[in-house]
C-alpha cells in the first residue's frame, strides 16, 4: 500500500544546531504511529517539516505518493496533512469558528465569502468526533483542554490523510486521554495515518500500532508497538550506556539539590508508577508560609476563582490536581502575587518562586543567553553582588551548573535561549526558579513537555527542596499529571471550576482523584 507520509533523508538545521539528521520515516494509512524521543530529539521538527511549516534543508517529504516540494503549509494541507500543535496555533482573539474557518477552504465560497451552512457542518463534525467545542467564544478565554479540542476539530475538518499531533496528552487528565485516543482510533479507522508525538511511553504503547524513536536528531528504531517493551524503548530514547539515568524519585531519599537521581542502577522510571510510593505525611513544623481565605477572582484571569481557601506550610508539598482550565492558572497568578483578588484574604511571603505554565512566553528572554536569563532571577540576591556590580562570574557558574544538572542540550551557558528547543527552554526556566524559591515555590505543571530524564530531575529537585535545610519552602505543585501529584504531594486538593476541594488521605489514588477532577464537569455547562 502507498504510504500516507514518507520522509526521505530529511535534514533540518537551526543555525548551528542540526535538529534532524537524514531521517527516514514512513507512515501507513490507518496506522497510529508513536514518535518518541527526549526534548530536542527532533520530534517536533519532524512533524513541522511534514506539515510544510518548515522547509527541510535536504531530503524529501512525500505525501500520499506526491512530493511536497516547497509548497508549504497550504500545499501540505491540500494534500491532506493537518497538525495539532503543542503550544497550539490558534489566534487567541478569534472565536473557535473563526479559527476553524481560517484553515479550511471549504468554509468559503469561490468568491471568498463565508460559505452558508458551514457552522452547521462544523457542529456536525464535532458531534461525529465526540468533541465538545465552544465555537462562539474567543479561544484566548478558553481553558487549555477546550483550546485543544478546537485545534483538533480544526485539523479534522477537511479530508485528512495525515494527522500530526505534538504532545497532545501533556495537558489532559487520564480520563481525557482515553477520550482523545478514542477520537484518534476513529480517525485512523477512517483511513488516515496518525503521528503521535508523546513522552509517556505507556500512553503511546496503549494506542500506537508502531513506534519510532529519534535521538538527537537521528533515527534510532522503528518497530511494532506490540513487539517492544517499555524498557527497550526507554533505552533507545536515552541511549544505551547513558549515565545519570535517575533512580527512584519521591519519598525522602532523593539526592541533594542539583544532583539527578542515583545514576546507573536502572533505566529511567517510566509511566504510571508512583501511586504506591506516595510519601508518608511528615510532621512538618507547622509554620504557615502562605494562606488564602475565601479568595475570589472574577476578572483578570480567564477562569474565575470561587472562594478558594488554603494554607501552605513550610516544608510541605501541596499538590493541586485538576483538568487544565479549571482556574489553576488564576490560582497560580494569585499565589505568585501577580494578580490581586477581587475579595478574600491573601497572605504571601516576600519572595515567591514561580514556574509558570507558559514558560517560553512568561519565562525567558529569547534574545538573552542562558546566563543572562539566570541573572534576571538572581540579580537582586546578595550572593551575586560584588560591590555595586553584578557578579557575572558567579552567575555564569550557576548557569553552567544549571545546564549540567538539568541536562539542558546547549553548547554552553552562553547559548542564546531562543535557539533551544521548547523542552530545553523549560528546563532552563525550571532550574532557574529553583534558585530563588524563597519561602514559597509555585510550580505549574513543572514537567509538562519534559523528557524522561529531565522529568526525573525536576521531580527529585522539588522533593529535595521541600525537605532541605532549616527553612525549606512550602511548595504548591499544580499539575494535571496525576502520577506526579501522587508521587510528590504531602497533601492533595483538586481544582474544579474555580473551587478547591481537599482530598482526604485515604483517597490519594488515581481513581478517586480522577473522579473528583471530572466530578462537576457537565453541570450546567453548555
Amino acid at each position: 500500500m502507498r504510504d500516507a507520509l514518507r520522509l526521505r533523508g530529511v535534514t533540518r538545521r537551526f543555525g548551528p544546531v542540526t535538529a534532524l539528521d537524514q531521517v527516514d520515516f514512513a507512515l501507513a494509512p490507518g496506522e497510529i504511529h508513536g514518535l518518541l524521543g527526549e526534548n530536542g530529539a527532533g520530534k517536533t521538527t519532524l512533524a513541522r517539516v511534514a506539515a510544510g511549516i518548515l522547509q527541510p534543508d535536504a531530503g524529501q517529504v512525500v505525501i500520499g505518493g506526491e512530493p511536497l516540494g516547497a509548497r508549504g503549509v497550504g500545499g501540505a494541507r491540500a494534500l491532506g496533512v493537518a497538525m495539532v500543535h503543542q503550544h497550539f496555533s490558534l489566534v487567541p482573539r478569534f472565536t473557535g469558528l473563526e479559527n476553524v474557518a481560517l484553515f479550511d477552504s471549504a468554509a468559503w465560497t469561490r468568491r471568498g465569502t463565508g460559505s452558508p451552512g458551514y457552522r452547521e457542518r462544523v457542529e456536525a463534525r464535532a458531534e461525529e468526533l465526540g468533541l465538545e467545542v465552544q465555537l462562539d467564544v474567543q479561544v484566548g478565554g478558553l481553558g487549555v483542554v477546550e483550546r485543544q479540542r478546537v485545534e483538533i476539530l480544526k485539523a479534522l475538518m477537511g479530508e485528512t490523510r495525515v494527522l500530526l499531533l505534538d504532545e497532545p496528552t501533556a495537558v489532559l487528565a487520564p480520563q481525557e486521554v482515553e477520550g482523545l485516543f478514542a477520537v484518534l482510533r476513529q480517525v485512523a479507522r477512517a483511513g488516515a495515518g496518525i503521528v503521535l508525538v508523546a513522552h509517556k511511553l505507556d500512553e503511546v504503547l496503549a494506542v500506537a500500532d508502531r513506534v519510532t524513536v529519534l535521538r538527537r536528531g537521528r533515527w534510532v528504531l522503528t518497530g511494532e508497538a506490540a513487539g517492544v517493551s517499555a524498557r527497550e524503548l526507554a533505552e533507545a530514547i536515552v541511549g544505551a550506556g547513558v549515565d545519570g539515568g535517575g533512580g527512584g524519585v519521591g519519598g525522602g531519599d532523593a539526592g541533594g539539590p542539583g544532583t539527578v537521581g542515583g545514576g546507573g542502577e536502572d533505566a529511567p522510571k517510566v509511566g504510571a508508577a508512583g501511586a504506591e510510593q506516595a510519601p508518608e505525611p511528615r510532621p512538618g513544623d507547622d509554620v504557615e508560609v502562605a494562606r488564602l481565605r475565601a479568595v475570589t477572582v472574577s476578572t483578570g484571569g480567564p477562569i474565575p476563582l470561587r472562594g478558594v481557601s488554603m494554607e501552605v506550610r513550610r516544608g510541605e508539598i501541596l499538590g493541586i490536581a485538576g483538568v487544565g482550565g479549571n482556574g489553576q492558572r488564576t490560582l497560580a497568578a494569585v499565589l505568585a502575587g501577580m494578580l490581586p483578588p477581587d475579595s478574600g484574604e491573601v497572605q504571601l511571603p516576600e519572595e515567591v518562586g514561580w514556574i509558570p505554565l507558559d514558560r517560553t512566553e512568561e519565562g525567558l528572554v529569547n534574545e538573552f543567553t542562558i546566563s543572562e536569563n539566570v541573572a534576571l532571577a538572581v540579580h537582586g540576591s546578595d550572593d551575586y553582588r560584588r560591590g555595586p556590580w553584578l557578579d557575572w562570574a558567579g552567575v555564569a557558574e550557576t548557569a553552567a551548573a544549571l545546564v549540567r544538572d538539568m541536562d539542558v542540550r546547549a553548547d554552553s551557558s552562553a547559548t542564546q535561549a531562543g535557539v533551544l528547543s521548547g523542552g530545553n527552554q523549560q528546563k532552563v526556566v525550571t532550574g532557574r526558579e529553583f534558585l530563588r524559591s524563597g519561602e514559597l515555590l509555585v510550580a505549574e505543571s513543572p514537567t509538562r513537555g519534559l523528557d524522561v530524564k529531565a522529568t526525573v530531575a525536576v521531580r527529585a529537585r522539588i522533593a529535595a527542596l521541600a525537605r532541605s535545610g532549616k527553612r525549606p519552602p512550602g511548595v504548591v505543585l499544580i499539575s494535571s499529571d496525576l502520577d506526579e501529584i501522587l508521587e510528590l504531594s504531602d497533601r492533595i486538593a483538586v481544582m474544579v471550576r474555580g473551587r478547591l476541594i481537599p482530598v482526604p488521605r485515604e483517597d490519594h489514588n488515581p481513581t478517586a482523584i480522577g473522579e473528583l477532577m471530572l466530578s462537576a464537569r457537565g453541570d450546567g455547562d453548555p
Partner: protein, 308 residues
Amino acid sequence: MAEFGALSSSFLVAAVGLGVPLALAALGETVSERAGVINIGLEGSVIWGALGGALGALALGPYGGLAAGALAGGLAALVFAAFAVWLNTDQIITGTAVTIGSLGFTGAVFQSRFGATGLALELPTVPAWEVPVLARIPVVGPAFFDQAVTAYLAYLLVPVLGWFLFRTRRGLSLRAVGESPEAANAAGVPVVRTRMLAVVFAGLTAGLAGAHLSLVHTGTFAENMSAGKGFIAIAVVVLGRWNPKGVVAAALFFGGAEALQFALQAVDADLPYPLFLALPYVLSLAALAGWFGRSRAPEGLASAWPRG
C-alpha cells in the same frame, strides 16, 4: 437662527473637507495595522501623494493627478514594506526614516522642477460634485454631499473595508496575520505577502489623501504641506479602534477640531486655538488606555516576522 445655520453649515463643510484626507489615510492604515504593520512612514506616502498629484495634474489634468498621487503614495509604502516586511527591519525606525526621507526628497524634486523662488504653483483642481437630492438636506447635505470625488471614495471604502475585513476569507486571513503571525503561518496564510499588500494598500489611500491636499484643498503644492496628516491618521486609527466605521467617525472628529481651530483664529477669540488641535490626541490616548471600552490593538502589531 438662520445665521447660526449658515455658520454651522460652513463649519461642517470645513470639518468634512479636513476630515476626508485623514479618513483616506487612516482607512488604509487600518488595513495595514490589522495585518500587524504599523506604518509610521504614512506621512511620507501623504507628501509623495501631494507632489505626485501636483505633477500628475499638470500633465494629465486633475483626475490623472489623483491617480498619480495614489500611485506615488503606494510606491513610498512599497519602499517601507521592502524594508520593514521583506527584510524584517524594525517597523518604527524604518517608518520614521521613510517619512523624514520623503519630506526631504519631495522638497528636492519640487525645487528642481519649479525652483526655490517660493512662487505659488497653480494647479488644476478637482471640482466638487453635488449629489442630487442628498445635497439638499439642510446643514449636513452640503457638508457631506457637495464634495470632491475623494470624499465619496472615502465613504465607499467604509462598507467595502468592513465587508472585506469581517466577511471574507482574505479579510480573516489578514486579521490572523495581524493577531498572530505564527498561527496564521501554521494555517497556511502567506504572512509576508499579506503584509506587503496591506502596506501598499495603505500607501495608495495615503497618497490619495496627499493628492486631495494639493488638488482639492489648496490647488497648489508646498514643501512639507502634509503637515503631520500621516501621523494624525495613525492616531485616528487608534481612536477609531481599528474599525472602518469608527475610523471614519474619528477622522471627521479630528477634522472638526481642526476646522474649529481655524474658525477661532478667524473670530480672534480669547482662547489659545492650538488647544483644539491637541484635544483629539488626548482622546486618542484615552482610547488607547481603554476608557471607551475594551478594544485593543491587534496583538501582533509591529511584530517581526522573518521570511523562511
